[in-house]
Symmetry: none
Subunit: 214 residues, 4 copies
Amino acid sequence: MVPPTSATGRRRLPPEQRERQVLDAAVRVFSRIGFHDASMDDVAEQAGLSKPMVYTHGGGSKEELLRRCIRREADRLLTSVSLAAGAPADAPGDDRTTEDRLRRGLRAFFATLTTHRDGWSVLYRQARTGTLADEVHDARARIVDRVAELLSAELTGRDPATARALATPLAAALVGAAEGLADWSASGGTEDPDALAEMLLALVWTGLSRLRHH
Amino acid sequence: MVPPTSATGRRRLPPEQRERQVLDAAVRVFSRIGFHDASMDDVAEQAGLSKPMVYTHGGGSKEELLRRCIRREADRLLTSVSLAAGAPADAPGDDRTTEDRLRRGLRAFFATLTTHRDGWSVLYRQARTGTLADEVHDARARIVDRVAELLSAELTGRDPATARALATPLAAALVGAAEGLADWSASGGTEDPDALAEMLLALVWTGLSRLRHH
Amino acid sequence: MVPPTSATGRRRLPPEQRERQVLDAAVRVFSRIGFHDASMDDVAEQAGLSKPMVYTHGGGSKEELLRRCIRREADRLLTSVSLAAGAPADAPGDDRTTEDRLRRGLRAFFATLTTHRDGWSVLYRQARTGTLADEVHDARARIVDRVAELLSAELTGRDPATARALATPLAAALVGAAEGLADWSASGGTEDPDALAEMLLALVWTGLSRLRHH
Amino acid sequence: MVPPTSATGRRRLPPEQRERQVLDAAVRVFSRIGFHDASMDDVAEQAGLSKPMVYTHGGGSKEELLRRCIRREADRLLTSVSLAAGAPADAPGDDRTTEDRLRRGLRAFFATLTTHRDGWSVLYRQARTGTLADEVHDARARIVDRVAELLSAELTGRDPATARALATPLAAALVGAAEGLADWSASGGTEDPDALAEMLLALVWTGLSRLRHH
DNA sequence: GATGAATGAGTTTTCATTCAT
DNA sequence: GATGAATGAAAACTCATTCAT
């Protein structure tokens, strides 16, 4: 019943699978060799496909291929964090504390980084100059924004406008700190997402709480 | 005494000045156009030199040139932070608190970023994958180490080994947070180094203090 | 009796119609985009067929497809001119003068060019170097030969061998002149075939007549 | 005294010679293989140079290279014909008849074609579709214009405006006829420029003269 | 018979790097 | 020591052509 080609994994796949195949290979190659140093041949070889397939299913150009990689990985990370932290607006029955939300969000963050190290590398370690800088910048900004939203909830002692204005740099610092920890984790530190999350919380939570009351 | 070329400002400079001239141009060009998109012609033109001169005084290859740029800028940053924070070992007469040292260090960090934006860009925004990943990684590690040293002094409630083991990820997080803030600063946030330093201290200082006593 | 595909207008046409469909599309596309710049996809799209169909009914290769285009268009032109000029051998009851034959031939020539501009373009404006040069050369030679035959009849004052030897370059010149006029016509000159024919006759007829008697 | 490399003909030539070297090779290759079928490697090999040299001295792209070829060859042909036919305006002491001017012009035309067959091929046999169509068209238009100018002088029986309006298509036809003859010449006919010129004059001169008086 | 999907082979173009002067 | 001129090597991208369905 299964077509005989399923064995080789080559011919006649539905487009979505092909695109995924191509993006997976691209993320991996770009992460390992670096976007500029990697050639489309490298990507094709990693995907087990011919170069034209990479072009057909990868957006038509190397740059567009990277763009799609960045978007996919950023979406993955953002979705993971958002789901774990809970709905942005405090739903009626949702009585979790901000600390708890933050904890869960950070755990998801570190868990995703650990699971998809290549994707993270594409997001954070590629050249942030040139045409693609904006793409990376936007992807990171979306994450920072989501975190800022979370932090705003904690800064209730202040008026909303001030809270938000303060939340953004704090979120930027927090995300940066998470990245720094992730780097340390990748260089030999623990890979346990929970431990990493606790470490970061221990560092910043008191400070955040204090900022509530000015 | 003055070399005869002072008239044109060009010919027959001592090698060190030549190297500086080349590195300055390279940092600028790499920062603006990006390492991979920039050509050696671009560097030569920016330096006002011929290409062979760039090769002679820039290390002999494009990659080595970038390596030297990274090292110089990392040194600049590390030196600046170190000087501001004070001697690593508590000198007898030095009774400044750790908080004060950290504050001064952070101010120097943000001040240097602001003053030498191109250098910072070369350090943090260039490809951190590929052949040069190690170089960047090492440069950042040196900074993280220096900060860890600083933090160790605060974790006096613990035995030295534990203190140091704890200090490294905290330092990684702290440096990451500083980078995140710097990004935010570059994207429209305040550029005042003191304000940035205070913001970061407010976020982490209480947490750090608490970690002292377990 | 009507093939069942008349409903869609597509499927299951007799091979000849398919070939015509393919050649029509090819002539159009090659003429507009140029043989080399046009892709087989372009031809297939213009024909409303899939690419394999173009290969099946178009001769199996792009080059052969062009060859067939050239042949068909050359035949069309030659047939049109021949029919208008009359039977090559002076048929008994045919007492039209050579001038009249030439006039009718030229009118047919210009009329065909105007009506089938794409075909003419394929014949005269495509690369006349490379592998296909011979094909174009042959196609033109056939036309020149037919004209030479016509002119021979006028050079009756000379012995047949001389007449024919003289007729060929004259025919070549005449055909070239017609092409030159056609170019002018296409670039803004009149498109009236009769006017173009008269213009050309006015230019060359006296000369041709004179050549009759040495 | 002569630099030792003059023996190989390779290194350190002045730019003009290099450009000529490149154009010569390009004209030859484009003429023989055809513009589209020829690769830049072919041109480089023919020139005995590396490909980058072809790009440096050939305008930076294949298309620009062809453009320059076309321009050079068109200039060569136009200059040759113009010089032979004499100054366009009848200079006071210039009492040559129009027929004489035309004869000399045609001789020069055929002589140049014969001498620079490759250049002629590039001018007349390359694809006249695509981006380069205009370039070829313009080159030919300049020649047709020059001939029209010549013919205008003969149509003195008519008012100047009419004369010029009539002269252009006649010139187009005449140039076309010359090209047709040249084709015939290249396919086995005589290569004697004088003979070719006389043949063409015999064909058209009476007609031209008659057009003078309506 | 008809086609969507797949690829091998090639082309233009760009640089990092090095001589000959 | 300094440079203009030269090149080897590679990389993105395209397309005629053919299977597997």
